[in-house]
């Protein structure tokens, strides 16, 4: 603790001189980087629009109330599609992620030199590309619609599920596996009786957790044409039908909150 004594009074400071200077230097560095980035963004901004934004926002808000409740009739199908995209996408992802996780886990992979890097590469590339980018690609390739959304969610979630799952596989209790091996079990039997029961709770938890995230993500896939409620949202915004927009936002809010609640309940029941 840096305590200085001047003229009989002891003065405590939080940091000594060197630490304080380091902190200041870091702060100054951050400030410089920030202001440089800010100046670059500011160059590309039309400030008149920004100054005008509060009035615009007020205007938009006033045109949003009351929500067009009768538009709900047309939204049910979109909500159903959104939920299906998330659910089927998650299903596809967990089915594909299961074997990939076993190939990627250090203790179960058949070959550390060849197969593990491939599995890890699949995981990394699937995780790095946002589901909206996957959707963009798939819409260009297989055309707009729910299928593109399902595949986009699926491709994006493979990496997420496989990563969490292979971490769970690497942390299993080896004594159980040894016990099963000692009974003379074959490779698949070891997998079935020794490893899978240990990771099933984690697996179920991960699936439900990802499903919850996917509901949130599938609400926006429609913006690039991949089905779901985002399609209605972009249509209503383009038609400047603000009362419909506010209803859609409320529906999105409701769907997300319900899915979060369901996922929390299920995970609570599993763990």
């Amino acid at each position: 603790m840096p305590v200085t004594e001047t003229a009989g009074t002891r003065l405590w400071k939080r940091r000594d001189r060197k630490a304080q200077l380091t902190v200041w230097a870091i702060q100054l560095g951050c400030l410089m980087v920030f202001s440089y980035c800010w100046s670059l963004v500011s160059e590309k901004t039309i400030w008149e629009f920004v100054y005008d934004a509060p009035t615009q926002a007020g205007d938009m808000a006033s045109r949003m109330v009351p929500p067009a409740w009768d538009y709900m009739d047309k939204l049910w199908l979109a909500v159903w599609d959104t939920i299906n995209i998330a659910t089927l996408g998650t299903l596809m992802a967990v089915v594909l992620a299961f074997p990939i996780a076993f190939l990627a886990a250090r203790n179960t992979t058949p070959s550390k030199v060849f197969i593990r890097p491939i599995a890890l590469f699949i995981i990394v590339s699937s995780r790095s590309i946002n589901s909206l980018l996957w959707a963009l690609m798939l819409v260009t390739i297989i055309g707009p619609g729910v299928l593109a959304g399902v595949l986009a969610i699926g491709f994006r979630s493979i990496g997420f599920c496989a990563k969490l799952l292979y971490e769970a596989i690497e942390e299993i209790d080896v004594s159980q596996v040894e016990a099963v091996t000692a009974t003379g079990a074959t490779g698949p039997q070891i997998l079935h009786y020794g490893i899978v029961p240990q990771i099933l709770p984690a697996f179920a938890g991960i699936s439900v957790f990802r499903w919850d995230i996917n509901i949130r993500e599938s609400t926006v896939l429609g913006l690039v044409g991949a089905g779901g409620i985002g399609l209605q949202l972009s249509a209503s915004i383009n038609n400047v039908a603000w009362t419909q927009v506010s209803l859609i936002l409320l529906v999105v809010l409701g769907t997300v909150i319900v899915s979060e609640w369901v996922s929390a309940k299920v995970r609570h029941a599993i763990i």
Binding site: M60, L133, L136, H192, L200, L233
Partner: protein
């Protein structure tokens, strides 16, 4: 004497113990799938048409074309990075008051409820939807993306900050309060040192998330590499698109590794 057969067989215990729930889930799941495949509207002809296009897209990865759109790609990546940095900084700065307000042990009831509501709303809406509205309000360009990501950051960071403050060690806080410290001194010397290490780590994590998101806000007009990618898809320039995707994967990996390295170093 013992006539009962000694052969006993063992079966693996099912994962879900209650048979009613187990079979209910199976039947319900099958019913749901049947319903989904019955109602899902897929244009298989269009999907079949897409297969050659998909092959063309995949083959364009070997090799990707970095050169013909090099300046566009470079500008887009840089713009994404600026957006990432300023939105992380501004988002975190704004989330500090909200996070303090949302900590139950720090703020009065009305402030707590208000801050929690702000956090809940900004957390539920995906960044893209916020970006959509930001583009309507602020015009096309990186500023809209910056606003969207900042709002997302507030929801994420504010919530975690509030939870961290709620979990802090109260004895230290009381000790500082007992010295007669003012409220700000109390925050600075009792609360901040306790939450700081974890918060720096989370800040790095959010930087990582914001970069990923900044790659997509461009799709709705929020600037950055997403806009470049959208253009190349719209022009069916798959080899440039492949190059952009590889650049995104590469940078995301780089940011992820460096952010996890910094997080380990801080803790």
């Amino acid at each position: 004497m013992n006539t009962v057969t000694t052969h006993r067989s063992w079966k693996k215990q099912p994962f879900i113990k209650s048979p009613l729930l187990r079979w209910g889930l199976v039947v319900g799941g099958a019913f749901y799938l049947a319903l989904v495949f019955g109602t899902m509207d897929v244009n298989w002809g269009r999907v079949a048409d897409g297969i050659p296009r998909g092959q063309r897209f995949l083959s364009s990865f070997f090799p990707p074309d970095f050169t013909s759109r090099a300046t566009d790609i470079f500008d887009g990546i840089l713009e994404s990075m600026w957006i990432t940095i300023i939105s992380t900084v501004v988002g975190i700065l704004l989330s500090i008051p909200v996070g303090l307000g949302a900590a139950r042990n720090l703020s009065p009831r009305p402030v707590y409820l208000f801050s929690r509501a702000v956090l809940a709303v900004s957390r539920t809406f995906p960044e893209i939807i916020i970006a959509l509205f930001a583009v309507k309000l602020f015009g096309f360009g990186p500023f809209a993306g910056f606003i969207a990501l900042s709002v997302g950051t507030i929801g994420f960071y504010g919530k975690l900050l509030a939870e961290d403050i709620e979990d802090m060690d109260t004895s230290q806080a009381e000790a500082v309060k007992a010295t007669g410290a003012s409220w700000f001194q109390w925050l600075n010397y009792a609360v901040q040192p306790q939450v700081m290490p974890r918060m720096i780590g989370l800040g790095m994590y959010r930087l990582d998330i914001n970069f990923r998101e900044s790659a997509v806000v461009g799709i709705v007009g929020g600037g950055g590499i997403g806009a470049t990618l959208l253009t190349s898809f719209d022009r069916y320039e798959f080899d440039s698109a492949a190059a952009i995707l590889l650049v995104i994967i590469f940078i995301v990996m780089g940011v992820e590794y460096s952010s996890s390295y910094i997080r380990k170093w801080v803790q």
